[in-house]
Symmetry: C2
Subunit: 435 residues, 2 copies
């Protein structure tokens, strides 16, 4: 078998065989297939697409390029969530404890932020003592004892994906549905889960700007995931403005704790986290239907079981559970600065990406891979899209310790708000559910 | 400027600017652009094409990546020919002396064979003493004194093309009209010519199998070449069977000499060589029109001026001009073997590629880049398509010194002939002329 022939087939829109896909993934992993072969094939896949069979093979080969976790000795159905990502998205910190409190097993493997905001691991690390890098043994212990775990990869999960992703990043082949699908699914299926809830975001603040693209990606993820033998549901959700009100690591932990305590009961973050949790509960076999699952979500908040589950996991992973009650135990920013509305009107738009970049400039995200995150830094929004404002009213507050990039962050944050006369058309948060 | 952005533009069918194309070609030449960037861009160009402007820029940048020859101090219009290649194609050895005998200046730079048959340089080297690797000084002397020269590259002509071609070869991006066009034109224009006659071959024995592909390539070559300020004519010619009757290095020199002597006056080789020479003569300003040029071609044969011109060049380049009269001075094969018709009928088809491979197996071409050619080895066809044959009649003769692969060559050559009942439909040799 030769790579040039495999590339030629894909170039000519001929379906690749599972053996050819295996040859490519194995060869690229072990270094026998050079980068230039891989990048030509990636571009041909980007432009000519892949059949379901091909995507299934690609997912399978990437999955099997590394360790595949196995929790079959633990009782219960294992379910995880994956989001295509967005500014202010701390749903994982809310839905995982809820689902686990209801009895779903949640072996959640998360990543760090590479773009403008911190990832789930960065957020968790703002809790004093919380360890995200567990050994395989500790990972299993936490999962077995609490029914959930929130950690980074314990082993080389889908190393082929890691290597390919780095190449896609520099060859303009990231935004390809077959390549995104196999990348997401290979990593998630390697976690040894039975079910997966996908949050595919669409809008100006999302990776997918167009509904049709998000729909196509969601459909493909569900189809390929189900063909791989998993229970898969995908929600297409709106990401035109930051999710919730807090952006930044400590700030997002606080907002999540407030939701789990029942202190915040409305708004996009609550609605989305609860709905995603309900889908996890259905996949996890703990409710007959979504209505039943939603009741279990509400109970877990009202009875405090979700908050206690989160504290239990924090303690099991070495963190201080009291930090979720006394926020002064969390690392904070010692300086704040508000930004104000320059006119009276209604908020038309809050550019999520600009808010994310402003938070990053304050220290909440990484400018380069090696940057150190300031957990206390970030932004709290006081007004969201559709809210009325008066001239001079505070729109948001910047939290920072280092004022180095404050001026730029301020001006970006101010520019992110668009205020107009009329109330903007209301946009549904959850556009569609695919299963 | 970043390669990833250039790749993204081409991926999205956005026209690249001359500056972006320069960045790519310069960077790839000097090593600052890695192979994986180049191969992703090549595949995007393959699948999404290029505008005329982009091809002109690409040609120009590749041309200027190396030395550009300049003969403006020599009188006369400089014209060359380029063929997309085919088995038995020795037209260069015939048309160059004819055009030069008529007064066209022909600075012909040729290559070696990499595929199944020898290239023009390999054929010329079968003439004892003939030097194809000239210094720039000798090249100029021969051209100035005889009005023609037949040699390999004197310097780094279009090195960017050389490097890119090697990458295209292993990434299935060879058969792309924009890439073929810029590759051919950059090398030919670097020769410092004023006019170019292109022989674009089509058929089962050619690189282009489909008329539509050959037509598209020819149109593009003419358009881009003319926009680069050159006089360009393209002929689309048939290549369903080997051209002429002799395949192999010494054998092709002998067949060419026979044509120049007027000993062979009919057949596809004569027709095509004379017509290409006539176009060169028109471009070279030595005739008003094709009819006038054809008369000059005939005169150069009848008066022996073309043969003498060839002998003059052979002598100027260190070869023995007598070898074109006394063929025993040429290296020959000491063994021959005929193949015979297995039935009575009419030759329907002679698979050019199989004949080429059979000749290569006998030693006429290179199996690998490092293989040594046996100049005497090859094949002479006694029957061509449309000829009637009797059972047992000799169809062709194999010439060889080393019998190692004789059996395979024999069986391939036999299988290359297809004999049927009816006379096959006659196919035009020259399908179209574009200018």
């Amino acid at each position: 078998m030769r790579m040039v022939d495999i590339i030629r087939k894909k170039r000519d829109r001929v379906t690749l065989t599972p053996e050819e896909i295996r040859f490519f993934v194995k060869g690229y992993s072990d270094g026998s297939v050079p980068d230039y072969h891989a990048s030509a094939l990636l571009m041909a896949i980007y432009l000519n697409g892949m059949s379901d069979e091909e995507m299934l093979s690609l997912t399978d080969e990437m999955l099997n390029s590394g360790e595949v976790l196995d929790w079959s000795d633990l009782d219960g159905i294992k379910v995880d969530k994956h989001s295509t990502g967005g500014v202010g998205d701390k749903c994982s910190l809310i839905l995982a404890p809820i689902a686990a409190a209801v009895g779903v097993v949640v072996p959640m493997i998360s990543g760090r932020g590479l773009g403008h905001t911190g990832g789930t691991l960065d957020k968790l690390e703002s809790i004093p003592g919380f360890e995200v890098q567990l050994t395989a043994e500790r990972f299993r212990e936490v999962l077995a004892s609490t029914g959930m775990v929130l950690a980074g990869q314990t082993a080389e999960v889908a190393p082929a994906d890691k290597k390919l992703y780095a190449l896609r990043d520099v060859t303009a082949t990231v935004e390809s549905i077959p390549l995104i699908t196999s990348s997401i699914l290979s990593k998630k299926l390697a976690e040894g889960i039975d079910g997966l809830v996908l949050d595919v975001k669409v809008g100006s603040g999302a990776f997918m700007k167009q509904h049709s693209d998000a729909l196509a990606l969601a459909r493909t993820l569900v189809k390929v995931g189900q063909r791989a033998g998993k229970k898969v549901v995908a929600l297409i959700t709106n990401m035109d403005q930051p999710l919730g009100t807090h952006v930044g690591n400590t700030l997002e932990v606080i907002e999540s704790a407030e939701v789990l305590k029942g202190q915040v009961t409305k708004g996009d973050l609550v609605e989305l986290s609860f709905e995603l949790a309900a889908h996890m509960i259905v996949l996890g076999g703990k409710a007959e239907d979504l209505d039943g699952a939603r009741k279990l979500v509400d109970q877990s908040i009202q009875k405090g079981t979700a908050l206690r589950k989160f504290q239990e996991v924090v303690a099991a992973q070495g963190g201080d559970p009291m930090a979720l009650e006394d926020y002064s135990l969390l690392p904070t920013a010692n300086k704040t600065e508000p930004i104000e509305a320059s006119r009276r009107g209604v908020v038309q738009r809050i550019d999520a990406e600009e808010v994310g970049i402003a938070a990053m400039l304050l220290g909440a995200g990484r400018v380069t891979v090696d940057s150190k995150i300031d957990p206390g830094a970030g932004i709290v929004l006081h007004r969201k899209v559709g809210d009325a404002v008066e001239e001079g009213m505070s729109l948001a507050t910047l939290y920072y310790n280092d004022a180095k990039s404050l001026a730029e962050a301020r001006s970006r944050l101010s520019a992110a708000f668009e205020i107009g006369e009329e109330a903007p058309p209301s946009v549904k948060l959850i556009h569609k559910v695919l299963s």
